[in-house]
């Protein structure tokens, strides 16, 4: 009875429709949110664990650099751990694409694609800065050049990015995150096994292997990102609510 009354109450307050609304709103000069405000607002919606994981890894590597001797084994340890950073970023994309998140609804002034791209951009920039930071710290401690060391560290990271994006673009299940975790674990273990089994992997003998792998994975990842963007363009708000 009380619920029916509440429903009826809404119509009790019905009013004649306003006649000058569109004209007024089209001419109204109001302060619009800047792009920077929008990006900052999206920062708050990225989960704390993503930031914490990045920070922990960075601190862990700093700790390793200053308290232990840097050797080839240290490079493969870092390059095997880095895919987990990309996993935390991938989990943010999965969260946004799999569920119709409240924060995205709240930001519906911008479309889904814009929001996801901003968040991808923020996470990508953070990871990039982290990688550069690690590389700068590493370079002084090893005999390898900046670019060479960059290839060793970022190739497994890119492999994980490609694998996870491949999964996101093709699977339509809410268990997608577990599959991405599996991909990350696989990449990490594969990197570890390769570097343990092939002793010369960081030597001149395999010099061509790294840049070629890097370029191929970069292109494949870019292709998957384009696919993801196209997929997002097809998505409509509240798809799951109206289905």
């Amino acid at each position: 009875m009380r619920n029916n009354l509440k429903k009826e109450l809404k119509s009790v307050f019905d009013v004649p429709p306003p006649t000058r609304k569109n004209q007024f709103l089209s001419q109204l000069n109001y302060p619009k949110t800047s792009r920077m405000d929008f990006i900052i607002s999206q920062l708050g919606y990225i989960r704390k664990r993503t930031w914490i994981l990045s920070m922990l890894l960075f601190i862990g590597i700093l700790d390793g650099l200053y308290f232990y001797k840097v050797s080839n084994s240290f490079i493969w340890v870092v390059s095997s751990i880095l895919p987990f950073i990309s996993l935390s970023s991938i989990s943010e994309i999965v969260k946004s694409t799999t569920y119709n998140m409240k924060e995205l609804e709240m930001s519906c002034k911008y479309n889904f694609l814009q929001i996801c791209l901003v968040r991808l951009g923020v996470l990508g920039a953070t990871n990039f800065m982290l990688l550069i930071g690690i590389l700068i710290l590493f370079v002084g401690k090893t005999d390898y050049s900046f670019i060479r060391l960059g290839l060793y560290i970022t190739t497994p990271y890119l492999l994980n990015c490609y694998g996870s994006l491949y999964v996101i673009n093709r699977l339509k299940t809410r268990m997608i995150m577990y599959v991405c975790c599996g991909v990350t674990a696989f990449v990490s273990v594969l990197n570890t096994l390769l570097t343990i089994q092939i002793n010369e992997i960081y030597t001149e003998m395999y010099w061509l292997f790294w840049p070629m792998s890097f370029i191929i994975l970069l292109l494949l990842s870019a292709r998957e990102i384009v696919k993801l963007i196209r997929k997002m363009e097809e998505l409509q708000w509240n798809l799951s609510l109206t289905a």
């Binding site: 509440k6 009826e8 109450l9 009790v12 006649t19 709103l25 109204l28 109001y30």
Partner: protein, 153 residues
């Protein structure tokens, strides 16, 4: 919190209409509300924008009645009996609502027509959350009793 202009325009218009009972005046007051609201940009990003918007609308309605010496009407005739609905039940509820005190009518409008949260209503009406709950329950109980007497429930 950002404000959706399209949505808020309708809600503020409904709020003003409930006060002045005139379509054109309500729309004038609605537009003036938004102009004043955006004149104080320093407040928008820091304060409680929705409460601020409703406060401007309320003050403009009061000013309107002051200027036209109709303040008594504002208190006594928020929802006049002249809004005859074609549906009998709806009409009965309108009649019952119009019999409520002005503050209870306002709280029902904010809660059920404009779909505001308890916190927002508390901010707009400058009362505690507890008072909002108490007034809402009181308004619904009075309505139920009136409608039961008239055999509509």
């Amino acid at each position: 919190m950002s404000i959706s202009l399209e949505d808020q325009y309708d809600k503020i218009y409904r709020y003003c209409y409930s006060k002045v009972k005139n379509k054109d005046i309500a729309e004038d007051l609605t537009q003036e509300t938004f102009l004043k609201y955006f004149n104080h940009t320093s407040y928008i990003n820091r304060g409680k924008p929705l409460a601020y918007l409703y406060t401007i609308a309320k003050n403009l309605c009061i000013d309107f009645y002051r200027k036209s010496n109709r303040e008594e009407d504002l208190k006594d005739e928020l929802f006049g009996a002249d809004d005859v609905s074609t549906f009998e039940t709806n009409f009965a509820i309108k009649q019952a609502v119009s019999a409520l005190p002005a503050d209870l009518q306002e709280i029902l409008l904010l809660r059920f027509a404009n779909e505001l949260g308890i916190n927002e209503i508390a901010n707009i009406m400058e009362i505690s959350r507890f008072s909002v709950y108490r007034k809402l329950n009181k308004a619904l109980d009075i309505l139920k009793n009136i409608l039961r007497e008239e055999d509509f429930l």
